[in-house]
């Protein structure tokens, strides 16, 4: 039975949604662990490095794969942290999380090809199969074999139906934007401890506020009225996600990454126009970024990772890759 992030069970029936809310805590780093992790700066930097590794190693695969692998990583870290943050150990953990994610997903890649891909990437470290298997066993034990992760993606369709947008084009637009937000926000340590359903609700509200501001109040009411959702948690989570989105836009503006003329980009442009009237520095920085030779260097690095195609999600992965590289400098 293949695994799908949107349907941790296959053929999910509408009356099964309540069960997802019941058991989602089994698939989430707990609040206590979140606090514990935040108190350990070393682990935060280790997590950042591991996420970069996973994104780099799996950039040629489905981006959903790296999402699942990072979910496994977070739950593993929450369970026990990292005792020996040596480069080869981190790489082994990253490789093992990806390997487990590949096994869980419906995938057309022969396993040996995936394995060869993982071992051929930068770093030159090649692990014996048995070594990876032992690390996989460790991770499986720490995660208690709960590998059908319940993620925010599991709840998006439910909330869209709650907002009265099921089967409407508007719902699909919201879903796409919310998914984008969920992908990007996975890296953010501040979201640790929020349940997947809360993250899903908050991402949808951010997307609706951004794309359909006039309908936002009624969407907020529809979600707040749900007995499955804790309103205060959504408010807190919403603020974090909104902060992430704003930081993302500043970051994109400074890098001059966005160049396509899409509805979302039009909104970004409007935002930048408004901001540029307040802060001349941004305008200057933006100009420099556009004309800087650095931009070409970044392009070449992005191209070098081998991700091709026009898939918007893949494009997002490239942005993430770029950010990851910058954080390493």
């Amino acid at each position: 039975m293949e695994f799908d992030l949107e349907n941790p069970f296959e053929n999910l029936h509408s009356d099964a949604v309540s069960y997802l809310f019941l058991i989602e805590s089994d698939h989430t780093p707990s609040q206590n662990h979140s606090q514990t992790l935040k108190a350990r700066d070393l682990d935060i930097s280790v997590r950042r490095e591991l996420i970069s590794l996973i994104s780099q190693l799996s950039c040629a695969l489905d981006p959903v794969l790296s999402y699942l692998a990072i979910n496994y990583l977070d739950r593993f870290l929450a369970n026990q942290g990292i005792l020996q943050p040596k480069p080869w150990v981190l790489r082994l953990i990253a490789v093992s999380c990806i390997s487990l994610a590949v096994k869980m997903m419906r995938t057309e890649y022969p396993f040996t090809d995936v394995q060869a891909l993982l071992n051929q990437s930068d770093g030159g470290i090649i692990f014996e199969t048995q070594t990876i298997q032992r690390m996989e066993a460790l991770i499986l034990g720490a995660l208690q074999w709960r590998m059908r992760s319940i993620t925010p993606f599991s709840f998006v369709a439910f909330f869209i139906a709650l907002m009265g947008l099921k089967d409407l084009p508007m719902g699909q637009v919201l879903k796409n934007r919310a998914s984008e937000i969920i992908f990007k926000s996975q890296r953010e340590i501040r979201l640790w401890g929020f349940k997947p359903s809360i993250i899903a609700a908050s991402a949808l509200l951010c997307a609706s506020h951004e794309l359909f501001p006039f309908q936002y109040p009624s969407f907020l009411k529809a979600i707040s009225d749900s007995s499955y959702v804790n309103k205060e948690s959504v408010e807190q989570c919403y603020k974090v996600i909104q902060d992430i989105a704003i930081e993302e836009e500043y970051s994109s503006a400074l890098n001059g990454v966005s160049s396509s003329d899409t509805p979302i980009n039009v909104l970004d442009h409007h935002f930048l126009s408004s901001e540029s009237q307040k802060t001349n520095g941004i305008t200057v920085a933006n100009t420099i970024a556009v004309s800087s030779p650095l931009r070409d260097l970044k392009r070449r690095k992005i191209t070098g990772c081998g991700c091709g195609g026009n898939n918007p999600t893949i494009h997002n992965s490239r942005i993430q890759f770029s950010h990851a590289k910058e954080s390493e400098k």
Binding site: F9, H13, A16, K103, E136, L140, G141, R148
Partner: protein, 317 residues
């Protein structure tokens, strides 16, 4: 060496260290089953031991997917709870998986046999309660897109004191593909198998489980298997003798199934001849469970709403 240090932080006991095996209580298709005590808590569990059929992949994807399903289903009161999974090695260094289930002291097969031996009938309200729990558990599984595909009294576990019933062996049929050679001594039970499966249908639906539920229902009433064939052909003939040989009229598409042949033509008999002692409402529910056409068979959820269960106190189920 570094690997060992990394592992040292994990409080992982091997199955042998964590549990004391008390007795072997069964040997199923997928491996041996032990009654065991967890040393840390004193809790009695059922330990199901199975070899992993590894290749260079380590844990097979199918095992990973199916065990994960069991972990997700384990909060429903009518599914046997998979409490933990432990990976270890046997004497030959091969990887062994221990599935740690909650322990139930008996199963429906033993329960029925105990009544058969004393010559008593199972009380009607007991039958009704057990059937309701079975329908509820199956409705839960089907509601999550999970088929069982091997329902039989042996893997419906019971607690004698509380009369609670739980479904076991979910998904194990696919999680652990075992070479048939090793278990040739054990005949895979045909008695609860749906006719479309016997006729070679490749696309299973939830209806295959409902057929099994119907067979179990009848067996609770009569204490004998309803269709006790010892080969696939004999199994089909048993079914056709009672329900009539199917044709395109009662089951559109039946003659196109892969293993369809010409069969002796029997007319359907009344179910009451095979299941004396079941009241009219029960017979109606049973007949809907034993519909030939899979899409017309009653669903588990609808079965729970059937009038047969109206006078059952469902508060504690």
């Amino acid at each position: 060496m570094e690997m060992e240090k990394t592992g040292a932080g994990v409080a992982v006991l091997s199955a042998k260290e964590a549990f004391e095996k008390l007795e072997k209580v069964g040997e199923g298709t997928y491996g041996k089953v032990y009654r065991a005590r967890e040393k840390a808590t004193g809790k009695i569990v059922a330990l199901k031991k199975t070899r992993l059929h590894e290749d260079q992949e380590g844990v097979p994807p199918t095992t990973l997917r199916e065990v994960s399903i069991l972990r997700m289903l384990s909060r429903d009161p009518h599914v046997v709870r998979l409490m933990d999974v432990k990976q270890g090695q046997n004497k030959e260094g091969k990887t062994v998986l221990y599935l740690v289930f909650e322990y139930m002291d008996t199963d429906l097969k033993k329960f029925i046999r105990s009544f058969r031996q004393t010559g008593q009938s199972i009380p009607p309200q007991t039958i009704k309660s057990l059937m309701y729990q079975l329908c509820k558990g199956i409705a839960f599984c089907h509601g999550h897109g999970i088929l069982h595909r091997d329902l039989k009294p042996h893997n419906l576990l019971m607690d004698r004191k509380t009369m609670m019933l739980k479904i076991a062996d979910l998904g194990l049929a696919r999680a652990f593909t075992v070479p048939i050679k090793k278990y040739t001594h054990e005949i895979l039970t045909l008695w609860y198998r749906a006719p479309e499966v016997l006729l070679g249908a490749t696309h299973y639906s939830m209806a295959v489980d409902i057929w099994s539920v119907g067979c179990i229902f009848a067996e609770l009433v009569t204490k004998q298997a309803l269709f006790a064939g010892d080969s696939e052909l004999q199994q089909l003939l048993h079914i056709f003798r009672l329900l009539g040989t199917p044709n395109e009229e009662v089951w559109p598409g039946v003659s196109k199934l892969k293993d369809w042949h010409e069969y002796p033509q029997w007319n359907p008999k009344s179910l009451s001849t095979a299941v004396p002692g079941l009241d009219e409402l029960g017979l109606d529910l049973l007949s809907q469970m034993l519909e030939y056409e899979p899409s017309k068979r009653i669903s588990a959820k609808k079965a729970m709403e059937h009038a047969y269960f109206n006078d059952l106190d469902k508060g504690h189920l």
